[in-house]
């Protein structure tokens, strides 16, 4: 931790020495967009290509420059005091900064993201924590945590939550795991997760169920990543058959995001595979569909054109093309058309019988 504090100090020193030598100080950040990432299958995630944007202190940038430095100073205090702060709290703290305060939270979030990228760490390491929920877990897993008062070991058995579930904490670095499960199933919607939990699907299939609730949070991704790293567990994603489920959810889970590429190496599950719902499933299982929305089509075309992950896999390109040709999308809960538990009794077992056919 103090290593990062030291790096913050180094950056501050370099800014100051620039000022003392009467030249304009600069800060340079990795460019945060899909155009600055590449996909290396060997390493398994989207990583930065190294394009940088340099913010030079000028009249136009003086406000953001000042805000960035003040936020850096705030991070240094947090690290030194071993304190944490949500992004919302950071926004309120800035209200003490007179003219340099933020008017809206998105402005302070951007500055925090900039600093995170500047030091190529995740914001938790800077003391800034997200407010988002981490996701839920049920099934054959024992999580080993510590009691925050006594420091004693706590064994949390995820099979013992009944119809409820274990909630992934925001920081997962200190957790340890024990499991005999064969695989981990990451599910997009809480509704599908509930159905599988209620019917004890994890017992039947000997697996761990994780509800992502949309795009997986960093904590959720890190949790899955640590599980797979430590226990060498295969991860299967079960999401809606639309561009959002495929790229915003599945791709982020597997290889990380373009916006926070500097931390992808920690926050991805490279051994994840796409169980469904695939465009072919729509045909095979005669699923009811909705037409693709304009934004879906745009997202699919964009993925074909710009997403380095998609560009690497022929199979994905074909799947997108098939989806675009069909012009429809289907939700994972659409199996209810046949029978409420059709997904448990037919779909999942049939798919799991041939993991080789999963999309990469």
């Amino acid at each position: 931790m103090s290593k990062i504090a030291h790096r913050i100090k180094q950056t501050a020193t370099s800014v100051r020495s620039k000022i003392q030598s009467r030249s304009k100080p600069t800060l340079s950040f990795p460019l945060r967009s899909l155009s600055n990432v590449k996909y290396r299958p060997k390493r398994g995630f989207l990583e930065l290509k190294g394009k940088k944007k340099t913010r030079t202190l000028t009249v136009a940038t003086v406000k953001t420059f000042a805000q960035t430095l003040r936020m850096m100073s705030q991070a240094k205090v947090l690290i030194e005091d071993d304190e944490i702060m949500t992004k919302r709290e950071a926004y309120y703290v800035s209200k003490n900064w007179d003219d340099a305060r933020f008017d809206e939270q998105p402005e302070s979030d951007t500055v925090i993201d900039d600093i995170e990228a500047l030091f190529e760490v995740n914001r938790e390491q800077l003391g800034f924590i997200p407010e988002e929920k981490g996701g839920e877990v049920a099934g054959k897993l024992v999580v080993i945590d510590r009691d925050s008062d006594t420091g004693k070991k706590l064994r949390i058995d995820c099979t013992k939550f009944g119809s409820g579930a274990y909630s992934i904490p925001i920081s997962v670095e200190h957790l340890k795991f024990e499991t005999k499960a064969k695989f981990l199933l990451a599910i997009e919607t809480a509704g599908m997760f509930q159905r599988l939990v209620k019917h004890g699907y994890w017992r039947k299939a000997n697996c761990i169920l994780v509800s992502m609730g949309g795009v997986p949070t960093r904590a959720c991704r890190r949790f899955i990543r640590r599980l797979t790293d430590e226990l060498n567990l295969p991860v299967y994603a079960f999401v809606d058959c639309d561009p959002y489920g495929m790229f915003n959810i599945y791709r982020t889970l597997k290889v990380g995001s373009g916006n926070a590429a500097h931390i992808n190496r920690y926050f991805c599950a490279p051994n994840a595979n796409f169980l469904g719902v695939t465009p072919q499933d729509i045909i095979d299982y005669k699923l009811p569909t909705h037409p693709l929305k304009e934004v879906d089509i745009k997202r699919a075309r964009d993925a074909l054109k710009n997403d380095p992950f998609v560009q690497h896999y022929r199979l994905w390109q074909d799947a997108i093309q098939q989806l675009l040709d069909m012009g429809v999308r289907a939700e994972q809960q659409a199996f209810a058309v046949h029978d409420l538990n059709y997904v448990i009794e037919h779909y999942l077992p049939e798919k799991l019988a041939a993991p080789m056919k999963f999309l990469p």
């Binding site: 100090k9 430095l69 003219d99």
Partner: protein, 567 residues
């Protein structure tokens, strides 16, 4: 008859009501029939009552000469006496114009006093205009003030405010018409002469003065003229008011001192800003390009010259004997023929020949522009603004008449920032207050693209902003659209020259506005820098544990650096 018709109509409506909707169509036809019959009846009766048609002899009895005074008494709106408010302004305008013309011609710096006092009766005022001019000879006074179309300015081509010799007599006539009171004149031509006092009425039928009072009085001034007219009028402030006229006169005539007393007894002074009298102008002869057939024939009749060649040479400007000979040759008329003997046909040929001969432009020493320096002085005197500019164009010619355009702009300061620019129009130093939309000056201002000069302008409107636009046309003959001299006629040469003058001013204005905007922008940037630089220093102090002194040094260094790089 009318009654009968009404009754019939009533009856008929009743019928319609009774019959109801179904039969409305039938009743309509019925109504038509009724109408037809009544019409016939009307045609029958007048034959009995109306007088029989007139014969030529009858008509001749009613045909007689119309005096110009009678004509203008009936058509007083042509001279600017449409309503009581305008009548007051026109009266003062005519009086002041005459005073200024007289003073300038005599080489005296004009000092004019204008007093509007309420008269005993409601809606009546006594207007007094007093100057320090050369005075008027006793025997001339009655004709000048009580005979329409009498004056010195009509027959000569010389730049002056008055042109026609109608104005002041018309004002007197209006006073006489509305109050029955005569016009009173007091005039003194030098310290050694007594002052003459006249009270005059105009005999409208004959257009001749009728003398009511003629006496010698004591007047404690060196010389000058005082005119008093009582008239029905309305005193108002604001747009198109006496005050506006005087203010605008002061702008275009910085050598004039005006003192004004309102009916409420409030005194206003428009001080003299320059002791420089306008340049004396020369009278010029007409230029051949401006002459029309009728005028040419009249000139041929009236000339003292004995040959056509010498007529052309001596009665026109810019016609040398050589050019005169050329014209004669082209027209195939002998240069030695006697002018009064030239027939209409030959005159026509002459005119054609003139058109096809290159003749030098008329001389321009007949023009006395205000000059850009004095325009600036005038504008600065009356308008509080940040920026002034003025331009005097070189002389130009329309229809053989030389003219010269001047323009001035005042911008910013206490002028209203929202709303349209204010346009001041002048002809021979006289402000034009009415008929703005009919004027060639307005036309040119509207058709100038002010957006090129850093101003806003909606299509077909004056530009928006804290701006006063002044345009002056000086000419030996300003082409007005009517006798009340309110708008300049649309000659393309005039419009073009006004546009050029405005564009030249506009370019200077744009330079000023852009420079000012740039300064404001850099001021804004400076404030911006000063707002955020301390925070950079605070953050660095916190991170590097610096002292207050080090922090302050850093603020100074940063401020220096950014301000240097601003441009």
């Amino acid at each position: 008859m009318g009654k009968a018709r009404k009754a019939g109509a009533k009856k008929k409506t009743k019928v319609v009501k009774n019959v109801g909707k179904k039969k409305r169509r039938a009743s309509k036809q019925n109504r038509l029939k009724v109408a037809k019959t009544t019409k016939k009846a009307v045609e029958k009766t007048p034959k009995k009552e109306l007088p029989r048609h007139s014969t030529a002899e009858d008509m001749a009895l009613g045909q007689r000469e119309i005096s110009v005074a009678e004509f203008f008494m009936k058509n007083r709106h042509l001279l600017g006496f449409d309503n009581p408010r305008k009548a007051l302004l026109t009266t003062i305008k005519e009086g002041v114009d005459n005073s200024l013309d007289a003073c300038e011609e005599a080489g005296v710096l004009p000092d004019v006093k204008i007093i509007i006092a309420p008269a005993k009766e409601e809606n009546r005022f006594l207007v007094t205009i007093e100057d320090n001019g050369p005075g008027i000879l006793r025997k001339q006074i009655p004709k000048i003030f009580a005979k329409l179309l009498y004056g010195s300015k009509f027959h000569r081509l010389k730049m002056s405010r008055g042109q026609q010799g109608i104005g002041i007599s018309a004002a007197g006539m209006y006073g006489q018409l509305t109050t029955g009171k005569p016009i009173a004149i007091t005039s003194k031509i030098s310290r050694d002469h007594p002052a003459h006092h006249y009270k005059l009425e105009i005999d409208a039928k004959k257009n001749e003065p009728r003398i009511i009072v003629d006496e010698t009085v004591k007047w404690a001034v060196q010389r000058g003229t005082k005119v008093e007219i009582e008239l029905e009028a309305k005193f108002q402030k604001g747009r198109q008011s006496v005050e506006e006229y005087l203010e605008q006169t002061a702008i275009a005539n910085p050598h004039v001192s005006l003192r004004f007393v309102t009916p409420d007894g409030e005194a206003k002074v428009y001080k003299r800003a320059s002791r420089q009298l306008p340049k004396q102008t020369r009278e010029i002869k007409p230029h051949p390009y401006g002459v029309e057939l009728g005028i040419l024939i009249k000139m041929l009749h009236d000339t003292k010259a004995r040959t056509l060649q010498s007529f052309l040479h001596s009665d026109f400007s810019r016609v040398s004997t050589r050019v005169a000979k050329m014209i004669c040759e082209k027209a195939k008329v002998s240069e030695r023929s006697r002018p009064p003997r030239i027939a209409r046909q030959e005159a026509d040929h002459l005119l054609n020949a003139i058109k096809h001969t290159r003749i030098m432009n008329p001389p321009t020493d007949c023009l006395a522009p205000i000059g850009d320096e004095l325009i600036l002085a005038g504008l600065k005197k009356q308008i509080k603004a940040d920026f002034f500019t003025a331009v005097t164009r070189p002389p130009a010619v329309y229809r053989g008449n030389p003219f010269q355009i001047e323009a001035g702009l005042a911008y910013g300061g206490s002028l209203k920032a929202d709303g349209l620019a204010r346009l001041l129009r002048y002809a021979n130093r006289v402000p034009l207050l009415y008929q703005q939309s009919a004027c060639a000056i307005t036309h040119s201002v509207l058709n100038t693209d002010w957006r090129n000069y850093a101003l806003q302008q909606s299509a077909g409107a004056l530009p928006t902003g804290p701006l006063v636009i002044m345009v002056h046309m000086a000419s030996v003959w300003v082409p007005f659209t009517s006798e009340s001299k309110e708008a300049v006629a649309h000659y393309p040469e005039i419009i073009k020259d006004i546009r050029l003058a405005l564009q030249e001013c506009g370019r200077k204005l744009a330079k000023f506005i852009r420079r000012r905007r740039k300064a404001a922008e850099s001021e804004r940037k400076k404030a911006f820098i000063q707002k955020y630089i301390p925070h950079i220093a605070i953050a660095l102090r916190e991170m590097l544990e610096l002292s207050d002194r080090q922090e302050k040094t850093m603020v100074r260094q940063l401020t220096d650096m950014l301000e240097r790089s601003r441009s």
